[in-house]
Amino acid sequence: MTMTRHLLFTAALLATLTASAQERYATRTGHISFHSDTPMEKIEAHNHKATSVFDATTGAIEMAVLMKGFEFEKALMQEHFNENYVESDKFPKATFKGKITGITAEDLKKPGSHAVTVEGDLTMHGVTKPVKASGTMGMEPTGAIRATGSFTVKPEDYNIAIPGMVRDNIAKEIVIKVQVDHTKM
């Protein structure tokens, strides 16, 4: 009985210890861009205010970005993007929750770049879909923990309707590029 009690105590203590020993990195100024490339029109938009938190002990990563923070080449495009396509007033944020594999907490202690895969759920326009991407992660000479990656999404998968009139102007698959420099929390 006493033995079990001790064991349990130790286990509980260990569990709390691991919790506090987690290596977390975060930023509020991540760069996310998307690109639609057709013979008719090239569209790209950039957002430099993505938030991201990465937990190096578990590999868990979470990102969020305000849709209205995407800046387009053309003001009207930006207005239409928010008003007609992603409906930013109704769905203000896009979020990603996933896990990065191919890197350990130790890898992030010294400069270098490592190939990683990230897998998780992307929520946008009220729809959640699994996405998978390959990218890189590592410590920059500046000490920032940089994660980069790119993947493609189809607007139709997220219930984003493209009217027939502009179907040739908007790519079937939109490339999303991510580059976030985390700092230790």
């Binding site: 009690r5 509980a12 003001a75």
Partner: protein, 314 residues
């Protein structure tokens, strides 16, 4: 005892799990960013009236406006489709607040130029302004040959200043929801020369306009200009019109649809006004809706980005 320990253990293991579930929560709430309401109307015009919207900084908007003849002209004129009044115009956003524009109409061969400045901007988040307030100032010049102008008598000197008119408006409005935007436009039209003594040089008026968004790309618009009574009177008035508030003239009423297709906005509408600039619309509308003096017409707006302002730094 064992139970308490299990609970403790459970809580201890749960804590890090929970943290993983909401990593972003660790960063705390973000400061809401200051953001102004956008897209109260699809374009800078409701129909004939200026809307709350300006062209964005660096954007040029080319507007081709067209009014057919009155519907009541009957089949011989194909219900007005045989006739046309045109205005070709251009607008440019000098800043996000200041817009300038000019145009040329076939109606009295008029040249018009104007500026619209947003004094207050309705706030979507991060600030508290509930309305948008714009000030509009415009000028128009009748460029008809002097023999064709109404006031010309043989031998009379034709001063250019006589051909000028001015319009001033305050445009105050609010986008109440995605679906509904409303605005009021108290204004003054000044004519340098009027044709009869019954006509005031300064005509006070009040406009009202609104938009109901039906779908993402289709909206229903309406606008009305009320001219205070006794300010203007046509040189020739039909006998049964002598008791009108402004005999010979009517208040301008327009109803139409905005159809948006990417870079273009098509506005299709019915209006009793022939002109497409402020002085003409507010003080020179003669059509009577009840008599079928209704023009079918359209405005086409096409935007071009001429200059891209630098994105605001983080």
């Amino acid at each position: 005892m064992r139970r308490t320990l299990s609970v403790l253990f459970f809580i201890a293991t749960l804590a890090p799990l929970h943290a993983q579930d909401d990593l972003l929560g660790l960063l705390g709430e973000e400061e809401p960013e200051k953001e102004f309401t956008s897209a109260s109307f699809k374009t800078t015009r409701v129909i004939n009236a200026q809307s709350l919207e300006n062209t964005a900084h660096g954007v040029m908007d080319v507007k081709i406006s067209h009014r057919f003849g009155f519907l009541n002209l009957g089949i011989s004129e194909l219900f007005g489709l045989d006739q046309a009044t045109v205005r070709i115009g251009m607008e440019y956003g000098v800043t996000d607040r200041l817009m300038i524009g000019f145009g040329r109409s076939s109606y009295q061969k008029t040249l018009d130029g104007y500026a619209k400045y947003k004094i207050l901007r309705q706030c979507q988040s991060g600030c508290g302004m509930p309305i948008t307030l714009s000030v509009f100032a415009g000028m128009s010049a009748n460029m008809l040959e002097k023999e064709k102008t109404e006031w010309y008598a043989p031998g009379q000197e034709d001063y250019f200043t006589h051909r000028l008119g001015y319009a001033f408006q305050l445009i105050v409005g609010r986008k109440f929801s995605e679906a509904l935007s409303l605005q009021l436009m108290p204004g003054l039209v000044h004519r340098n020369l009027v044709t009869t003594v019954e006509q005031a040089h300064d005509v006070l008026n009040m406009g009202a306009a609104g938009r109901v968004k039906l779908t993402k790309r289709l909206a229903l618009n309406a606008e009305y200009f009320y001219v205070l009574p006794g300010q203007t009177r046509a040189s020739v008035v039909e006998a049964d019109r002598l008791d009108d508030p402004n005999p010979g003239f009517k208040n301008s009423l327009s109803i139409g649809f905005d159809i948006e297709t990417g870079g273009h906005v098509f506005q299709l509408h019915f209006t009793n006004s022939t002109a497409m600039f402020e002085r003409g619309v507010i003080t020179e509308t003669t059509g009577d809706w009840l008599d079928g003096d209704i023009h079918f017409g359209f405005n086409i707006s096409r935007v071009f980005t001429l200059y891209r302002p630098k994105p605001k730094k983080v």
